[in-house]
Amino acid sequence: MRNVWAQRGLVRWVFIGAAALALAACDAEVSEQQRGNGEGTIELAEFPDRPYWGDTHLHTDLSGDAFGFGVRLGSEEALRFASGEVVESTFGVEAQLDRPLDFLVISDHSDGLGAFKRIYDAPRMLISDPVIKRWHDMMHESPEQSLRAAGEIIDRAASNDFPAAMAEGREETTRNSWHQQIDVIDKFNKPGVFTAMGGFEWTLMPGGNNMHRVVMFRDGGDRTKQVLPFPGFGNTSSQLWDYMDAYAANTGGQVLAIPHNPNLSNGMMFELTMPDGTPMTAEYARRRASAEPVVEVTQIKGDSETHPFLSPNDEFAGFGIKGWDKANLNTEIATTSDMYGGSYAREALKRGLTLEEQTGVNPYAFGMIGSTDSHTAFATGDEDNFYGKHSSVEPVNQDRANQPQNLGTREGRFGWNYLAGGYAAAWARGNTRAEIFDAFKRREVYATTGPRMVVRMFGGFDFSAADWDGDWVRKGYETGVPMGGELVDQGSAPSFMISAQKDPDGANLDRVQVVKGWVDANGNTQERIYDVVWSDMDKRTRTGGKVPAVGDTVDRASATYTNDIGAAQLRSVWSDPDYQSGQGAFYYLRVLEIPTPRWTLFDAVRFGIDLSADAMADAVAQERAYSSPIWLKTVGSDRSEAQ
């Protein structure tokens, strides 16, 4: 008798508890403003007045691989962390960003969204598929086994070979996960304070070649709940664009896609042809340029600006390529040098000019951002707070820099090959979904490898040094175009107002460079790097055409540096000395910091471990920013407008 009563009591308690949870969920009332795109919610500046800092590429426990790698934090924790709150990591360490971000896009893998969490949570005896049952067991057994399961899952994903049983109830799982996530994102979206955006990662990878895109919505739940994240398996990029077009047509909302890690695509991300090898059509080029205005060029899994093979005359080429330029994403297929051309952003910008000559439309007229691609739910982009690519390499794993770290079991990459991740800066008039999204759409964004440098660039035809004495930002907007914009050739060399300010809490700047690309009279693509302005120009005079190195203040024993070298601010009005009338070109900025410790050196000092010789040789780097380009278009070069 006693037991029956006890049981009833428990049932009632649990029931009350569940009801209370439901109440609590309703409690957090989400306003219409938070659910919308932010238009008309806050007062906007006249011109974009500061860069807003964000990460457009973050995974939580809804991503199968992230979950397999051990993360147990979801969207709520991710948003709390990005907006500056203290959050306990998966392994129980309290963590907080010393500077909050302004915006965050949560981009879990659309394939199997929430499905792996479901495998984990499912009662074991209900799982009949032997493969899924094995994954379930591995996930529960130990972090090592969980990691192994994640590796298998990624491999299966690459070869599109998931157990059939996973298709059962897939749509329902996806819908539940998607809707719950959107509700949380809307709850944390606060126009003017913090922008939380919905999105997903579209994870196409034929043969392990990374063709991934981050898809980012301008809208909140009222619109995004009308669709489900689009799966990568068995689909093509054209189908993704169909999905995006349908979303815009059916909901009245807007969406864009951001390719990432072209460095792991074995040349497939920026091909000179259609995906099937036939000549590229204007229609394809136009769709691509319109759907994908921005590329993520730097993140934890390496940097995709350029490769020394492609840019032999660029002494700063090759940042963040070690370990990443040997093979594609899952190291299934080795990378050969003929593949590099389609794998790096600078070459793609050049290819875009060639394709524009051929088809009339530039498919690769993209802006550039950085992000993290963190799978820990923590959007950490700095060297001194690197939380790891995924949860099994969170900083509780003290030897992570030296360990081989591949997805799955293959050899080839080490912990120290991973970068600490980057951030995206968006020049916007205010911090709302619409303002941030629109900055991406017009490419007024830039990439950094983590530091928050303030980088401005205006292109025009009548800028001069005297403009610095007045309201130069206004002049830039009123008589020129900002980064991401297009100039039309007027028969004289374009000039650029270029301004870079160091991260106020970071390292000084070494130099600002302009990277120019063009197609010569013979139809060959060319590039040239111009050192435009650098610190201590009176002492560091060019010798043999080169600006001497800025120096190195890093103390390897303590992972510290000083700002005794470099400059806090650099600016210049620069005019293209090699301008040729009638020749189209692009110009983007690369801003270099003085050398600073990488995360590996911070790890070594913090945990008292010895880095391997290779890791130690790479323990100091010059972090950098890449602006979106400004294009100089020849008259009538873009026939897309006419059509």
């Binding site: 508890g17 009332e29 529960h140 806090a568 601010q569």
Partner: protein, 269 residues
């Protein structure tokens, strides 16, 4: 003493152990006695079945639907008891965790249901001002310098107000900042600048040079609004939800400590 060899057989140990355990469980009984084959669907159970349906569908179930739900409930109950009889709840990480979560939930659930009075919330607000305080707002004018010496010289010798009027904005440093939050100032000018700014008294005079990560600033700090704690009425929802979370967490922890106190734990290291 010589024991027969069979007493050393592991199998025998296992059987005896199993028999003891079986005996103990039979004597003790368990919340749902696997031995019981009588299922009573009482009014309480019917109520919660019906409420569950209502919560999901937004209406009460029809008689047929209720019959189906009862049938499903019985089926689940039968399989559940048989699963317990077979010991399927043992060594299952999911079930372990669910049960532990339920204990937590029960401990915290009282806080979820309480309607806190204004008094309780006022006290909570007073105890945790930092969570609800609005950032102080700063208004100032500034001139930026690369070198400290130039800044010092300018402060001593120049008419800074007129210099400010004619000066171009220094790079990304606005000449005048009006009502900017502490957080925003930190984002734009860095942490050091905010710390230094807090050392200054607002007034009409030019002060500095104030160092920042960007260089040296001469500053005319016009106003710093006090760290402003809004009235409870304006932020009642936020305070209440924070109170609820905090109280539930506290109760869970207290309940756990109480239970934990009754255990002795040994860890082989």
């Amino acid at each position: 003493m010589n024991l027969p060899t069979w007493t050393r057989e592991p199998l025998v140990h296992f059987l005896i152990g199993g028999a003891l355990l079986f005996g103990w469980f039979t004597w003790q009984g368990s919340p749902v006695d696997p031995a019981s084959r009588s299922i009573i669907v009482d009014r309480d159970t019917l109520g919660s079945i019906s409420a569950g349906f209502e919560q999901q569908m937004g209406r009460f179930p029809s008689d047929t639907e209720l019959d189906n739900l009862i049938e499903r409930h019985i089926r689940e109950e039968v399989l559940y008891r048989e699963a317990l009889r077979l010991g399927m709840d043992q060594d299952d990480a999911v079930i372990r965790r669910r049960l532990a979560q339920k204990m937590d939930l029960v401990a915290g659930s009282q806080a979820e249901l309480l309607e806190p009075s204004d008094e309780v919330l006022t006290k909570w607000l007073a105890e945790h001002p930092a969570r609800f305080a609005q950032d102080p707002l700063y208004s100032f004018e500034q001139l930026g310098f690369v070198q400290r010496t130039t800044a010092d010289a300018a402060l001593k010798t120049e008419d800074l107000a007129s210099r400010l009027e004619t000066a171009a904005p220094t790079m990304e440093l606005p000449k005048a900042v009006s009502g900017m939050s502490r957080q925003e100032i930190q984002t734009r000018f860095g942490q050091q600048f905010v710390r230094e700014l807090d050392q200054l008294e607002p007034g009409d005079q030019w002060q500095g040079p104030v160092p920042s990560g960007l260089g040296w600033h001469l500053v005319r700090l016009q106003e710093v609004s006090a760290e402003n704690l809004p009235a409870l009425d304006d932020i009642r929802d936020d305070v209440e939800s924070d109170w609820r979370l905090g109280t539930a967490a506290n109760r869970k922890q207290q309940a756990y400590q109480l239970l934990r106190g009754a255990y002795s734990v040994e860890i082989d290291r």
